[in-house]
């Protein structure tokens, strides 16, 4: 045979360099986003007992929704439960750092906000948390994206993203959608 196996393997190795290059470019871009913009998947090993969630202080019914901490941090807290979000609408400012915190008293849920990078699973037992900065305004849909039972399809919420100057907390630092949603 004119072409030795060694030559064949040499051409494979040449190709392997191409493959290595692709993998390196992808890893490089991922690392760049992680190092320069703090882009990570939403990890948060913070426990909360689903069986007594409604008795907890943070996720008590009256404390849900968007609020501004005394130190100026904007935090939105929501319950994902079979088969609705509580509250069903939250207000967030665009172009500001915001933190979303979710907890489930029953089964697994998951959320995303359409057209953004906000996405997390909500696992009973944990506080699911996403830090983000929203880049566009308007009423965005926030559906439950993980099968949570027969009412899963009707489980949706609204995220009202307003320009920063229209984001006006009340005296307790709270902002709500105002309507019944």
């Amino acid at each position: 045979m004119a072409v030795s196996e060694r030559a064949i393997l040499k051409s494979e190795i040449r190709w392997a360099w191409v493959v290595g290059g692709i993998v390196a470019v992808i890893l490089g871009a991922i690392l760049f986003a992680a190092l320069s913009m703090g882009m990570n998947p939403p990890s948060n090993r913070e426990f909360v007992d689903p069986k007594t969630l409604h008795l907890s202080s943070e996720f008590t019914e009256a404390n849900l929704g968007t609020s501004v901490d005394p130190n100026g941090r904007i935090v939105a807290r929501m319950i994902t439960t079979q088969f609705e979000f509580v509250p069903n609408c939250i207000v967030l400012p665009a172009d500001r750092d915001v933190t979303l915190r979710f907890a489930s008293p029953d089964v697994i849920h998951g959320i995303l906000i359409t057209g953004t990078n906000v996405n997390t699973m909500v696992i009973p037992g944990y506080v699911a948390q996403v830090h983000t900065r929203l880049t566009k305004t308007g009423d965005l849909l926030m559906p439950c994206h993980e099968y949570c039972g027969l009412g899963h399809s009707q489980m949706l919420a609204t995220v009202r993203v307003v320009p920063p100057e229209q984001f006006r907390p009340d005296s307790q630092g709270r902002v709500s959608c105002g309507d019944d949603r």
């Binding site: 690392l31 190092l35 703090g38 008590t60 079979q82 830090h131 027969l150 009412g151 399809s153 009707q154």
Partner: protein, 292 residues
């Protein structure tokens, strides 16, 4: 299956043992493979670990105001949060509507089924209105076919004041939570054979049948039957409503809608009832009673 790793190393070992049978060129062939394969795997793990546990948190820690040690602990999952952002702290106080809690002790009693304690308590206080087997002939709700969770939840709420009823509140307050759990377990167990009540035929107009089985996506209303039937996979404390008196059902929906009744955790039924029109509430009540 456990034999896999055990039987795994046999090939190389056999080579050593049966050295006489293995030609020397085979052995020189094998050695670099063992070495380089291990090097590649260990290197992959090493680089991945270095990047994930050291480089990324080191670059991200400043934004979260963390020291290197804490950033690395977050990266390893020993502390909550991501090393890229500060962790908020809650300052609110708990103001629950219903104080029911599914602690292991209560769960154990609810799972224990028909006990003497439960039977005695039920005979003393419940049968007069709710019927011996939990089938009520009046507008008092039937308990037959309900889960122990559903009965306990309501009893506990009557006891704590989260739900108020002239007859039930004093009854529930007279018993301890574990007694309430025993009664709940008794009724859900004793009435198992009468679960047939919950399978009564639903008859109603098309739009009501649709609301019950499919819900209404436009109004974000889940199907009634996504929860209110045993084995739906919905919230554990949801009662079965099929076969229940229509007057009782309608009053509950109206009370939820007006806010007069508010012991539903996180306002699930208050929200749903508000979205239903008064006419729909009435139709649904008849639909579930089965006398449409």
């Amino acid at each position: 299956m456990a034999r896999r790793p055990k039987s795994g190393p046999k090939t190389p070992r056999r080579d050593k043992r049966g050295a006489a049978g293995t030609p020397p060129e085979q052995r020189t062939l094998d050695r670099p493979w063992r070495l380089w394969a291990s090097v590649v795997v260990v290197a992959a793990l090493g680089v991945g670990g270095l990047l994930g546990f050291v480089v990324v948190p080191a670059a991200q820690k400043e934004n979260a105001g963390l020291s290197m040690g804490h950033a690395m602990q977050r990266a390893a999952g020993l502390e909550p949060g991501s090393p890229a952002a500060p962790q908020p702290l809650g300052t609110a106080s708990a103001i629950p509507v219903s104080t029911v809690s599914w602690d292991p002790e209560i769960m154990a009693i609810l799972a224990s089924g028909n006990t003497e304690r439960g039977a005695t308590l039920a005979a003393q206080t419940c049968v007069a209105c709710h019927g011996e087997k939990g089938i009520s002939q009046t507008e008092f709700p039937s308990l037959a076919g309900q889960s122990a969770y559903a009965i306990y939840k309501q009893l506990h709420d009557y006891r704590s004041g989260a739900r108020v009823n002239d007859q039930m509140s004093p009854v529930a307050r007279a018993l301890s939570p574990s007694d309430l759990a025993a009664v709940a377990a008794y009724y859900s167990d004793a009435s198992k054979e009468y679960a047939a009540l919950g399978s009564r035929d639903h008859i109603g107009e098309a739009n009501i049948d649709r609301l019950a089985r499919e819900g209404d996506s436009r109004r974000r209303l889940p199907a009634c039957l996504a929860c209110h039937v045993n084995g739906s996979g919905g919230p554990i404390e949801t009662p079965v409503i099929t076969g229940q008196s229509k007057d009782y059902l309608l009053r509950q929906m109206n009370d939820f809608a007006s806010g007069a009744r508010r012991n539903d955790v996180y306002g699930r039924m208050r929200n749903i009832s508000r979205k239903l029109t008064p006419q729909e509430r009435e139709q649904l009540a008849r639909y579930f009673e089965g006398t449409f």
